[in-house]
């Protein structure tokens, strides 16, 4: 899922004909003050972060003067909200809100249709409101072949509790356009919360737009990059890894950094290692075995579905580019994918990253090949001399995840005893 920032989501809604407040994006106080002065006061200064609960966390400030805009912008930029740094603010004309509504279109897997969610008691407390009294929230499935014509939208609004004639009149175009936005941009969720009902009509005071990952290539004008769904902004390395699957449908190269800056691993007193697995089930099992032994995989990776060797080559380079790692563990489940190709990709990457030692690494690396062509995979490592390295160990289908974790521990301890736990000269053949 690719989640858009509020300012991106509002731009998309504006293009589809939904009223949004006047405003602009600012990355410093000078830009913020200029935008506010051009629009006139009062204004709202809103932190742009990919998280909910922003208002309650102090991420929205109001300002009536240029000085207040500068102060609010300085306070927000550099702040973190729910662990996410604020790098830009949206400066908008403050709205005069009479009532707040909630409007969303999303997909309902249970009925395999888009659904419209509508509440005229909406606003930022919609979850609490719905929990206390679900009646005011109305939900309607949409026939994707028919779309959402005007008369259907009117009927949905009419059946929503507490809807007035004026609501039907004013919300119908908003609802129709929201559904159009959902379909046009391959949305997974397109949400306006709150939809501010003002004397001038309904205005989208906030916007959440999540785009379907698998459809990003159809939306080049959004400028999105394919990354994994993490609930936070992607790291630079995740963005690089996200490019690997683009344009190459053969297998997958999923990569998520679990501890991008190493703070979590340090805090836990664990040893950071890089990690790759064929199959997410085996991946979780292996992680569960590694953590009690004192190791913390700083990334999750899944390279399954029979990826090409060139895909393995690229993801291996990405995985090993993480700093401070003290080892690397690769493990396949009992896999039907052609593991000799997997091995070729890894070997090609190691030979490129360690040219002076012809692929022999300076940290302990354990490879467990289990499944189709596993013997051939191990033979590739032998053929290229990597098994001559004391820090490379290969295992086959006769071991389970626990065996692999313990074997990695033995290898790592031998490496620590020999090197003091410091990766040596990568060019040295040990």
């Amino acid at each position: 899922m690719a989640r858009l920032y509020e300012y991106q989501g509002k731009e998309l809604l504006r293009r589809m004909g939904i009223p949004v407040p006047r405003g602009g994006l600012a990355r410093n106080q000078i830009e913020a003050a200029r935008i506010a002065e051009e629009m006139g006061f009062p204004v709202a200064v809103k932190a742009q972060v990919l998280t909910g609960g922003r208002g309650k966390a102090g991420g929205i400030r109001f300002a009536a003067t240029t000085e207040q805009v500068r102060t609010a912008t300085c306070a927000l930029l550099g702040e973190t909200i729910h662990g996410l740094p604020v790098e830009a603010v949206l400066v908008e004309r403050r709205l005069t809100i009479q009532r707040e509504a909630y409007l969303a279109v999303t997909a309902d897997p249970s009925c395999r249709q888009p659904v419209v969610l509508l509440s005229l008691q909406g606003g930022v407390e919609i979850e609490a409101t719905a929990a206390q009294d679900p009646a005011p929230t109305f939900q309607a499935a949409i026939n994707i072949l028919e779309g959402l014509p005007d008369h259907v939208a009117r009927n949905i609004i009419r059946r929503t509790p507490r809807a007035t004639s004026a609501d039907i009149q004013s919300l119908t175009p908003v609802l129709c356009n929201l559904y159009r936005a959902y379909r046009r941009y391959d949305g997974k969720l397109v949400e306006i919360n709150p939809l501010a009902l003002t004397p001038e009509g309904p205005v989208a005071a906030d916007a959440r737009v999540d785009i379907d990952d698998d459809a990003i290539w159809r939306q080049p004008e959004l400028g999105l990059r394919v990354t994994e769904e993490t609930g936070r902004a992607p790291t630079p390395l995740e963005i690089i890894a996200g490019s690997i699957d683009q344009g190459d449908h053969r297998g997958t190269a999923h990569f998520i950094q679990l501890d991008p800056d190493g703070a979590l691993t340090r805090g836990l007193g664990k040893i950071p290692i890089a990690f790759d697995c064929v199959g997410t089930g085996a991946s979780l099992t292996a992680m569960d075995e590694l953590v009690p032994l004192g190791y913390y995989p700083v990334n999750f990776a899944d390279t399954s579905g029979n990826p090409s060797a060139s895909k393995m080559y690229r993801i291996t380079k990405v995985i090993l580019s993480q700093p401070n790692i003290q080892g690397y563990l690769f493990l396949s489940c009992i896999s039907s994918q052609q593991l000799d190709n997997t091995a070729r990709g890894i070997v090609a990457a190691l030979k490129e990253l360690y040219p002076a030692s012809r692929g022999k690494p300076n940290i302990p690396m354990l490879f467990t090949f289990r499944g189709a062509f596993d013997q051939e995979a191990i033979q590739v490592f032998h053929d290229h001399g990597l098994t001559e390295s004391p820090w490379v160990k290969l295992l086959g289908r006769d071991v389970d995840e626990r065996d692999a974790a313990w074997a990695f521990r033995d290898l790592h301890q031998r490496w620590c005893n020999a090197t003091g736990g410091v990766p040596g000269d990568a060019g040295r053949t040990v």
């Binding site: 630079p236 390395l237 963005i239 690089i240 490019s243 690997i244 344009g247 190459d248 053969r250 090409s308 060797a309 060139s310 895909k311 080559y313 690229r314 380079k317 990405v318 090993l320 580019s321 993480q322 700093p323 401070n324 790692i325 003290q326 190709n341 070729r344 990709g345 070997v347 090609a348 030979k351 990253l353 360690y354 690494p361 300076n362 940290i363 590739v380 053929d383 290229h384 990766p423 040596g424 000269d425 990568a426």
Partner: protein, 108 residues
Amino acid sequence: MTLAFEVLSGGSITVDTTACPTCESKACATVCAAQSPGPVLVIGDDGRPRLKPTLAEVKRGVCTECLGCLLDCEIRGKNVVRFHVPLPGLEAFVANGEAAGRAPVYRN
């Protein structure tokens, strides 16, 4: 003399075929013949590898990018196969990491 072709992932493979007539193993074609959907590289009458499918077919995915030609030519042949595959941003990421004291361990 160079044989060059593009592959599905956006990368390209080049083979400097100057030394190929004197190569006894023809390892590139041997490993390629073992790949489905059949060989991309075959040996011509002049002893040099050539493409069996068209360039367009190769780019469309007939070459499975198994890297067998790259690796086997290195250890069994004349080490004349080169593989170029894009990974936009990685070099800059590594350089930035080095500048900030967070270099990958392979750069030690």
